[in-house]
């Protein structure tokens, strides 16, 4: 055979330009918005979050205004956001597990070999989207719900704890999405990851409240959904829960611990 070495005409002789973190974020942004599930999940989040808040305020405005035994209207003004959590969980999980399910994760890691960068870029994209969508949805729910509360004479102005609950909803959903994404990296399977996070937040989080004594109270306070959720309501239904910012701090710490574990395994395991 001929072993003449051809002059490589297309081989770069100068070092190629280093891909920056911004490029990876842009790639993850494109990925997020080029699958239909994202649009469906965002639509469901807005409809459930704002719609249910409006509906629940309409149904309870008279009772809240007239019964001295009733809960605070501040517990109702972000009611829909409790259900909207499901959408944030699904979105966070899918950004990761849809890639493992299709095998695309290998293309991702071939394009961006630093797995920590991929993790960080996904977290930045999904958290910023959910912060914005979550805050806007909470505001939309406030506008709808407060209309009925106003009519019953118990309207709230958009300040103090009410205002904090608006961007608090965005912060909680953003954190929940990162939490869910992390579980996605750990278990690499859509149904398993969604089930685990839903069970943790909605089932276990509410069941531990039934454990008697201080132990039960503290366990309930520290469950991720309960700790992080108190910032998303001006007045939580459960008076035992931690204060809004303390709760968020606990939730962030728990998420950070989970992220550390996921990053360690992500670097160790084969893609």
């Amino acid at each position: 055979m001929t072993t003449t070495t051809l002059e490589p005409k297309l081989v770069q002789t100068s070092p190629v330009e280093r891909a920056t973190f911004t490029y990876v974020v842009r790639a993850e942004w494109i990925k997020l918005w080029t699958v239909r599930s994202t649009w469906w999940t965002v639509a469901a989040l807005v409809v459930l979050g704002a719609g249910l808040t409006t509906l629940v305020c309409w149904g309870n405005a008279d009772w809240l205004a007239n019964d001295p035994e009733a809960d605070s209207p501040g517990s109702f003004i972000t009611w829909g956001m409790m259900i909207a959590q499901v959408c944030a969980i699904v979105m966070g999980v899918l950004t990761v597990t849809s890639e493992y399910g299709s095998g695309m994760i290998r293309t991702t890691f071939a394009a961006v070999p630093s797995r920590g960068r991929v993790f960080a870029a996904k977290a930045v994209v999904v958290a910023s989207v959910l912060f914005v969508v979550g805050t806007l949805t909470a505001l939309l729910g406030y506008v709808g719900g407060n209309f009925f509360l106003n009519r019953a004479g118990i309207g709230m102005s958009l300040e103090g704890d009410v205002l904090r609950a608006m961007y608090g909803s965005g912060l909680f959903l953003a954190g929940l999405a990162i939490f869910s994404m992390t579980v996605g990296f750990l278990v690499r399977h859509t149904a398993a990851a969604v089930s685990i996070v839903l069970a943790l937040v909605f089932v276990i989080g509410n069941m531990v409240i039934l454990i008697p004594g201080d132990f039960g109270v503290w366990l309930a306070r520290l469950m991720p959904g309960n700790a992080g959720g108190s910032i998303a309501a001006p007045v939580p239904f459960n008076p035992d829960l931690l204060d809004a910012w303390a709760g968020l701090g606990i939730f962030v710490a728990e998420t950070a611990a989970l992220v550390m574990l996921a990053l360690y395994l992500l670097r160790k395991r084969d893609a």
């Binding site: 190629v16 080029t34 699958v35 070999p113």
Partner: protein
């Protein structure tokens, strides 16, 4: 250039790749040939840094894959499993890949045209046939115009026209001076595509040579001789220190070409009924070579039979 040194991968105690050394040179198509399960895909995943080697190293253009400043501009890969999200369109898939390495978006249209998918670029990849998926995978491999191209089983699922296209594309890429590394379990395909062959079996390199050398060394040829007085013919040939094997009524002769054998026997006045050069195919050569790597099983089977007879 790709260089592996003592590359080893063990999965749960089972060795998939066993301390292999090889170099893939630029400017030619190097075929990576082996039966299914020989360790081809594992080796390719290690080249791309997707699987971490248990021991040993593999480098692309002198450094680890993960150390590349913009990997898609250095090495493009078609992976065996399509590795594409079924809900995303071909164009969007290439768009995010380009964005991740700072490759201009104009390149997306170029590679779509190159692989002939420009008319279906907006369709979801999940609707693609196996062949279209392969073409999209090849487009993804070429997005960064990389000097090194790795294609894992590129002809799988392609129609004859597509297979010819991949063959000429591999040739073109090599002629442009790129390093082209193509895996296959089909010897016949490699014979048409590769300049150089690396044969792997049970995680070990069985051969690493040019296609011609491989043929000469492993595809044994002999001259078939049929003659009415075959015993006399055999005696003459053995006299000349040629290697002669008898198979029924034919003699298989190695060590001299057909014309010389004819001259030799003609001079002795012996009549011949057949004088043919038989060259075994590359497929046979591959089978012969990989048979060695399963020899252990064959021996074990013989021993069992022998034991049963006793």
């Amino acid at each position: 250039m790709i260089r592996a040194q003592g590359l080893t991968k063990t999965f749960a105690g089972k060795t998939a790749v066993n301390g292999i050394d090889f170099t893939v040179e630029p400017g030619r198509v190097t075929g990576f040939l082996g039966p299914n399960g020989a360790g081809k895909s594992t080796t390719m995943r290690m080249i791309l840094g997707l699987d971490a080697p248990t021991s040993g190293t593999v480098s692309v253009r002198g450094h680890r894959y993960a150390a590349s400043p913009a990997p898609l501009r250095e090495i493009g890969a078609l992976l065996e499993a399509h590795a594409i999200h079924p809900g995303r369109s071909a164009r969007d898939h290439l768009r995010w890949m380009a964005a991740s390495n700072g490759i201009p978006t104009t390149r997306v249209g170029e590679v779509l045209e190159l692989v002939g998918l420009d008319s279906v670029a907006g369709q979801r990849a999940g609707r693609f046939s196996l062949g279209m998926g392969q073409r999209l995978g090849i487009a993804a491999a070429l997005i960064g115009d990389p000097p090194v191209v790795v294609l894992d089983e590129p002809v799988n699922g392609l129609d004859p026209e597509g297979i010819r296209w991949v063959r000429s594309l591999a040739r073109q890429l090599a002629d442009e001076g790129r390093t082209v590394f193509v895996s296959s379990h089909l010897m016949s395909e490699m014979a048409l595509m590769a300049d150089h062959l690396i044969v792997i079996g049970r995680g070990m390199i069985l051969a690493d040579s040019s296609l011609q050398t491989f043929m000469a060394e492993h595809a044994a040829s002999y001259v078939r001789v049929k003659a009415p007085r075959s015993t006399a013919v055999e005696a003459v040939l053995v006299d000349q220190h040629l290697e002669v094997k008898r198979h029924g009524d034919e003699l298989r002769v190695q060590g001299l070409d057909a014309a010389s054998i004819g001259d030799l026997l003609g001079a002795k006045g012996l009549v011949l009924h057949e004088l043919t050069l038989v060259r075994s195919s590359l497929e046979d050569a591959f089978m012969t070579l990989t048979a060695d790597s399963v020899e252990y099983h064959a021996k074990a089977a013989d021993e069992i039979k022998a034991g049963a007879r006793r």
